[in-house]
Symmetry: C2
Subunit: 333 residues, 2 copies
């Protein structure tokens, strides 16, 4: 686990979008971040106090988290100056960049000399087991999508936050680098060796109290030719008791695959449920989470009502409406 609290490094982010990891931490785990570190020319601001390394350390920060995408895929000399200084002062560093911290000699050397840890959360740090398929105690909810990047992580985080606010037992279980940085731990599933994918998900969601819910972060889509194997392993390793269907209704084709149209929600429901029942005969689809960001404010509710009527299940946009009705549906099973 990555030690909290964090100082969020925004570097020289060109715009707000480039700082989405930092924004995710601020939105979902504000208690984990004491402040933000911005270089000159930084075009992003996640609304935390600006701090120097020394100020952050005085405020208790243990880890500098790279909360920004790097330009051109390289960790620049200007970044490295800050990162090496942070290591010298006693910070660990955590990053989800493709360009690994451990591949930078200066950072490795500074970490070693100062006894600090570099967390490259894109790379598994555990030798995961082969999945056993054995039933675990506690309950699990998994978001599955008609496509990639339709709001599965957001849905899981929103359901977890809603359950926490109601005093219910709940944990968000990240399977991607943003989720891992937000919560401080998880499995970077897309970087796991094929044979161990389902085992990694079992490892991520161990036995728990009978009334505890794990919200497992979904990845890919059963209908996405590039990543369906990852989704399959999530379902079979996760053994979900509940599925939430996630959808983005304005998308013209599968992400990155111009020749593939999206499946309908009934198609997703039928295939995902059939696959889930192989490992959990009692699995149910409990609701639909729709990303309506491209539908006007005066139209999205009518659209959701249509979906709800067609599917016979609660259909909500958790960003616009909260995840309350999805949690209500979960509480019933």
């Amino acid at each position: 686990m990555i030690q909290t609290p964090y100082l969020l490094f925004l570097g020289d982010a060109p715009d707000q979008l480039a700082a989405k990891v930092a924004q995710g931490i601020k939105d979902w785990r504000p208690e984990s971040a004491v402040g933000q570190f911005r270089m000159e020319n930084c075009g992003a601001d996640v609304g935390l106090a600006d701090m120097t390394l020394a100020e952050a350390q005085a405020a208790g920060a243990k880890t500098l988290v790279i909360g920004v995408a790097n330009r051109g895929g390289v960790i620049s000399a200007a970044w490295k100056e800050v990162l090496v200084e942070a290591l010298k002062m006693g910070f660990d560093i955590a990053s989800g960049l493709h360009n690994l911290l451990r591949d930078e000699n200066e950072l490795m050397a500074a970490a070693r000399v100062n006894g600090r840890t570099l967390f490259d959360v894109r790379i598994p740090s555990v030798a995961y087991p082969i999945a056993s398929g054995v039933k675990r105690t506690g309950k699990r909810c998994l978001a599955v999508g008609t496509d990639c990047s339709v709001g599965k992580m957001y849905t899981g985080l929103a359901m977890d936050a809603e359950m926490q606010s109601r005093g219910m037992k709940s944990t968000f279980r990240p399977t991607g680098q943003t989720g891992i940085l937000i919560t401080g731990g998880g499995v970077p599933l897309d970087a796991v060796i094929a044979d161990f994918m389902a085992g990694a998900v079992e490892y991520l969601t161990p036995d728990n109290d009978a009334d505890h819910w794990d919200h497992i972060e979904g990845q890919g889509s059963l209908f996405h030719a590039s990543y369906s194997g990852v989704t399959m392993a999530l379902i079979h390793g996760g053994q979900p008791d509940a599925l939430v269907l996630c959808h983005e209704p304005t998308r013209k084709h599968m992400r990155g695959l111009p020749d593939y149209t999206l499946p309908s929600l009934p198609e997703l429901r039928d295939l995902a449920l059939q696959v889930a029942k192989i490992v959990n005969a009692n699995c149910k689809v409990i609701g639909i989470s729709v990303n309506t960001q491209h539908i006007a404010a005066d139209k999205f509710e009518a659209y959701l009502a249509e979906v709800e009527a067609e599917m016979g299940l609660p259909a909500v946009d958790p960003f616009r409406q909260g995840a309350g009705r999805l949690v209500d549906a979960l509480a019933e099973i």
Copy 2:
């Protein structure tokens, strides 16, 4: 690609079963092996001429292939003596052992000094792409199983051999270490990073002549909780035109999963076809390959006739009956 012809190293194999990789090469690619190398106390014999390293080299052998499972998971000192000598003489070495050749310092040193190559076929040697989902030319047949280890590799090899003997265009495309050693190339799919699984299968089966068939080696099962993600990626990366269902009818539960019963053949047909149609709307199930080794010689034909009547598709045991009827069915689509 691993250079042929091979000298098959049987070492000190305790029994015939331990030499199944060598047996596979002898059965399916006899032209690739000039002989076998057996140490004292070797309990296996694949029926090739016994040769010293020098004799094999004189007969043209380029690569020493480890055709035997190692005892206790270690490459013994006695083995290493032979392997180092082979490298000095100019052989490459190929192995599918978990215990990698490259992790043995003496072998690495001898390979480097003598300019030879160590092929650890369990480990990918290529940076595979993300799958594009783009339709390729040529045709593809994939064996899918009700369970793991039900005869998928054998089925593919037998169909390929039958097509070759008829003068049809056909290639066997291995996805596991035994298949890779048999043919000299392929993708060790269970060792590929999750995000690149389907892309590795696309890489394995590129564009080809319109009347050419790739027989893609199947792995795992859509119904096997531990490995279903690998199977899914095979289907979506392979974009098969034809599926062959593979089954072993006497198995009591899924391999390694005592709590899971096998699916029925209709269940396998329906799920595999539904998943395959996501990437190839014209995919068809063309036949059933049954491993009847545990059914008596006077009973297996009656069993196959039952399956054939139930499924309305040719049902054969390719080991006992050959793959002719499966190839007939393939030729019709």
